[in-house]
Amino acid sequence: GAGVSQTPSNKVTEKGKYVELRCDPISGHTALYWYRQSLGQGPEFLIYFQGTGAADDSGLPNDRFFAVRPEGSVSTLKIQRTERGDSAVYLCASSFSGVTGELFFGEGSRLTVL
């Protein structure tokens, strides 16, 4: 597609449930990022992939969060045992390379944990 695609756009779940959020980056972009944006805040870095490997996962808040990118394109952010504090918009971005340049963001997946 022309831009970064994220699904679902909205996800409502109950506390304790498992959630998967999907990101389809711009074709040809080798670098992929996940950010989390809480209400009224700027995006916070979660994890960065260069190709298939997670080059930096230092932003993941705890071990309930995990992300994969098995074929170097689509990525899935996985959240186990969701908590109300996980409610936020999860943004995916991609760039041509991970060294420099513009990040292209998707529209995000809004997660609400009841």
Binding site: P43, Y48, A55, A93, E102, G108
Partner: protein, 113 residues
């Protein structure tokens, strides 16, 4: 040291006026300073960016002013238009992890018609 402080939190400007948003950082390793524009329900989109080897960069109605010694940079929107009403985020990143943008908390701009 990793924070980027942004002000004001919100801003109301008359059509045709100048909108000014300020950011300050602490980490001298930062060397790339983008501004992102975000409309409701959309992801942030790059507006303009600067590196510290220049003090100013202009693209159309948008200008970044950069003060390396003060560790501050600002966005100026000239001839502000109602279509500019959005949330603006400054950000910073460094060569050791250019991908890891540190974002400010955002400025909600409203331009009155």
């Amino acid at each position: 040291q990793q924070q980027v402080k942004q002000s004001p939190q919100s801003l109301i400007v008359q059509k045709g006026g100048i909108s000014i948003i300020n950011c300050a950082y602490e980490n001298t390793a930062f060397d790339y300073f983008p501004w992102y524009q975000q409309f409701p329900g959309k992801g942030p989109a790059l507006l303009i960016a600067i590196r510290p080897d220049v003090s100013e960069k202009k693209e159309g109605r948008f200008t970044i002013s950069f003060n390396k010694s003060a560790k501050q940079f600002s966005l100026h929107i000239m001839d502000s238009q109602p279509g500019d009403s959005a949330t603006y985020f400054c950000a910073a990143s460094g060569t050791s992890g250019t991908y890891k943008y540190i974002f400010g908390t955002g400025t909600r701009l409203k331009v009155l018609a």
